[in-house]
Amino acid sequence: MTSDEPFVSLLGTSALLFEAPGETSLPTQQRIWALARAAEDWPEIREAVPGMNNLMLSFASPPARLEPIEARLHAAWACVEPLAVAGRLFELPVVYGGEGGPHMADVIAHIGLDADAIAEIHSAPVYPVYALGSHPGYCYLGGMDPRIATPRRKSPVLSVPGGAVSIGGAQTGVSASAGPSGWNTIGATAMRFFDPEQNPPALLRPGDRIRFQIAKVIR
């Protein structure tokens, strides 16, 4: 959902969620990165975590009053400039459909295109990494073609494997390890995205880019 004004809401006493207005876009995301950089230095804030055109601010301890932080957020948003990040490009071969893409049929049924067309459309863009989240090393990517947008599943799947390439709403991403997911898995790739012994532990960073290459389409 999008609105005309930024929207701030509560995540219990643990965090605030700031949602930028308008359609999802890279320039907005670049402003979110800039806002995160500013907010992470505020004394009440433990961590500033970018999402897709939104920002979660977790509290070190719940502040007595919220209004001052909300006011600071709105004021900061009004003046932040897009933060340009010189990212790296990663190319990932993907096998679309088949065993590694168990929900391809659901996506086909929802959008009315065949597996080849979906793979073509999905592998065409260079996707910017907007944010990390979901599980260690996982990236949210921007720039998916809206023609292949498919709603999240009615109920999450209990486990999808690492390397699963999936679509959730108007977004796409790649699982970094096995676990539950509410998205539609359309293919599989092999890449290690996370190593807790490294610093930083995640391979990808906001501002990096990913290109999916069609290794194979299983119909």
Partner: protein
Amino acid sequence: MIEIIATGALATVQDLGRIGALKWGVGGSGAMDDLALASGNILLGNDEGAAGIEIQVFPFQVRFGEDCSFAVTGADCGARLDDLPLPPWWVHRAKAGQVLELGLPRQGLWPACRAYLCLAGGVDVPTILGSRSTQLRGGFGGLEGRTLRNGDRLGTGATNSVTSITGFGLTPPALDMPLIVDGLPAMRVLPAAEYTNYTKAAQAALWGEPWRITPQSNRYGYRLEGTPLTPVRPMELRSHGIVPGVIQVPHGGQPIVQMRDAQPSGGYPKIGTVIEADLWRLGQAPIGSRIRFIETDWDEAVSAHDRNRRWLAEARRLVALHRMRMGSS
């Protein structure tokens, strides 16, 4: 050192959670009942955030490889040390070779489903990204990033002189700070961003009806069952950060409360968030049991947070007092 000699599934090493790694997609993990773990550590003179073992399938048995003070908090599991019954929430000392057994949680004075075995010095596993908690999804932290198995051995950290003083305990917070609605354990909830997009009937059901904890509930999340929560219109959100306690409502209308192993972001609509101060209550609610939600506001939620901090401070004070008296007698 202790050796696990009998464990069911899902026992893990946990501390109070991993802080500051959300930006890499790493959720907090940590004890489902943070008050119980902190209390066990306070009883032993450990740092409050020392690691312990979270146990949720019973029976569970460990053998002590050396003399060691310990405390079992959380659920009352009728603990026995070589067949000697032990009071719960109490400091004990085991001799090398003795076996501690925890049985099925008793649902008597304080219904609960998870027990914490805390050891003097804390469970010593490597600190990874700032915590000893097991990150099951990422496969790191705790013992080799996994649940415990029979034959696993765990060492303890350095202890201090106070840890050999035993024979005292704490009243569990479930007795000191009960929160019950219509005979069911209750948790306070702050409405979240999409609350107003739910029908009046859905909002009324959230606050007015019991929610059953289904068998598909675990450290990642509690899938609840009750009157389906229907939105005024379907919503498809952009992915955003979330925290343990967030009550997501997938399209089917049956809510899922995010728990300690929850992913740090999501996109299902959020009707509310169980406040951090009450998350331990939910973490102790067994599968198959029913719970209630209470609508709260910011000020009340902050007071609840402060109340927990005060409870822990009082526990520290009482334990220090006991140690002083027993140490000098």
